[in-house]
Symmetry: C2
Subunit: 349 residues, 2 copies
DNA sequence: ATCCACTGACTAAGCGATTAGTCATAGTAT
DNA sequence: ATACTATGACTAATCGCTTAGTCAGTGGAT
């Protein structure tokens, strides 16, 4: 602060009362202090005149409550694109909305998580009342570290059950099943899966759901048809090239997000593979870029903002000590059919 | 906090010393207190064992410094899409990066700005050391209100000069000139301008730059060729329809951001207007969606992340009391030529 | 033996706000 | 006249941390 903010004492002095009286006037009475109407008005006038606003730090010292919630973005790989990532941004948007409704600020922690031993206690710094963890990598000990310190938490797309952390996610199993079923109905069964980072919570779930579906259909596919890319889209080009050179080609590729699918489309173009005639491609997320691809992507839509809103509600509940049941909420994905999928061509059947 | 965080006193007790001694050990000595090596070690061990981390609120009360900076998003119209807006997100990303480098947290204020009288003092609440204002509407008194309370500020795309607030922006004049010159070189002079909200700082600047360019060329264009849309892209379709029905049609449309340009492209498709053969379209921002449009958008690229980084540096300087000169920094836009612009067709010349 | 400097650590005040507890004064009931 | 109850407002402790100021003890110099 450059220009010192007026304190409660300043208001009190201006109004000619004690700071206690001023405090009582300015926030309903919680002591048995009584104030006459005239005095009350004098205090209110003084506060108004000085543009007084209580100091949040001092207040939170007493209340042990900061009226702000923290957000930690999980990091896949070395990526530092938090809010420019449409998945993260969509969720954060939902968090901001609900936080705003209840008068909370949102503090984004900028320090990278190293490990529980080195990092966890930094987040118990009295800056926030609780923390929302968004998409922590599977091999990270964020949830474990924070929850073992007793920090109120809520999580998105994390293995929260393990640490009794209320968690919101979109049903990865259902999403993959919807995608697989859509492709199957078109006539595909040679379906390759291009996943995101292995250490993200969603990846093993989606892989296992993919495998189950194939098993349901009695399909036995080459193991190398599961390719690990990055959610940034990196690696999708190489994966497509590799799979296209192999002896057996898939007729469809299910990408685990739209960026990966976009990478596939771009590489398909440069390999002169016609989509969807020769190869159907599906995305996941229904990000803004999905409908803008050529051809527009068939994809699985996730209600990102709703995830953020719901997670915030859960954290607020936890802060109020309201029991949360069930601990994990799975929202439903939707399939959005556009132009990147079609029946497989004859010679690929 | 559920599980009470250990206090300095807890550490001191565990180590068998006074809280003062513990404090001195844990943060370089600023009192003349001396500590023996043995005692020092005992304190450090105790802190480690208890996972002690100082309470930020208590600390900031003493230091009058919170190590966190605030962000307020200006709001155009009733939009509440802060971080899902790629412009805002890009800037915020830059803010997060620099803040992280110097160990600051970033607090996003979620309460909408009403007016200086009602809102300003809320932001002098000791929660943040300073505030970054991003793209406040032209008719808002955010900067005036906050700066008159002596809150350290830095701004993006705001009329900061007026209130001695260090401000970063991309040179709107240059950007429009580059766009206009590109179109002129292709042979266009019948150029319509589709702007964002009138009350955004950039809008009048861009309009005047557009007008100046036309004047340079001795062009006299119908006034209604300037259409006010929304930066969300809303209104672009109607504007195109209207302009296309008029007696004189432009050969090119310069949209003030990519969302507006995308709206124009979509409407052009449904009106069967061929882009760029019949109509050249330019965007602005070079958002992710620009290159994905059909045809890919020629656009003016703004270094969003760099804006955020620079603005944060300016705020940090101001917090340190370093004089800032010059007060306003204008970054250079770049033109990205893609496929949505070409020479105008013969019959349109 | 006396003085001084240094070592090692403590006590207490204060940051700004909240709140339990105290205390005059005035008015009312007995 | 006495006891009691509102009324109106104040004092002081506390939240967790920092830091200016104080102080006892030890060892070396004079």
């Amino acid at each position: 602060m450059n220009q010192k903010a007026p304190t409660l004492q300043d208001v009190a002095t201006t109004a000619g009362v004690s700071s206690n009286t001023a405090s009582v006037v300015l926030n309903g009475a919680k002591s048995n202090t009584r104030v006459s109407e005239a005095t009350r008005q004098r205090v209110l006038d003084a506060a108004q005149q000085l543009r007084y606003h209580p100091n949040a730090a001092a207040r939170s010292l007493v209340h042990r409550k900061t009226d702000s919630i923290g957000v930690i973005f999980g990091v896949a790989g070395s990526s530092t694109d938090y809010v420019t990532n449409p998945y993260m941004a969509g969720i954060l948007q939902g968090v901001l909305k609900v936080a705003g409704e209840v008068g909370y600020c949102v503090t984004i922690f900028t320090q990278p998580w190293v490990n529980a031993n080195a990092s966890a206690h930094r987040f118990r710094d009295g800056r926030t009342d609780g923390i929302i963890v968004i998409a922590s990598p599977e091999n990270s000990d964020i949830l474990e570290g924070l929850s073992s310190l007793g920090i109120p938490l809520a999580a998105v797309a994390c293995p929260g059950e393990r640490y009794s952390v209320p968690t919101v996610d979109v049903d990865n199993r259902t999403g993959i099943e919807m995608a697989m079923d859509h492709l199957r109905e078109l006539g595909h069964y040679k379906i390759a899966l291009f996943t995101g980072e292995e250490n993200m919570h969603s990846t093993p779930q989606r892989i296992s759901s993919y495998r189950n579906r194939l098993k349901d259909w009695d399909c036995n596919l080459p193991a190398q048809w599961i390719h690990t890319c990055a959610y940034s889209g990196a690696g999708a080009d190489a994966a497509l090239r590799k799979i296209w050179q192999s002896s057996e080609r898939p007729t469809a590729i299910l990408a685990c997000n739209d960026a990966i699918a976009a990478g596939v489309l771009a590489e398909a173009r440069s390999l002169s593979i016609k989509v969807p005639e020769e190869l159907s491609v599906m995305g996941y997320d229904d990000a803004e870029i999905a409908s803008l691809q050529t051809p527009p992507l068939t994809t699985i839509s996730q209600p990102l903002q709703q995830i953020g809103e719901l997670t915030t509600h859960l954290l607020l509940k936890r802060l109020q000590g309201v029991p949360i049941e069930p601990l994990t909420v799975l929202l439903d994905p939707k399939i959005v059919v556009r132009k990147s999928t079609s029946v497989p061509s004859e010679d690929n059947q």
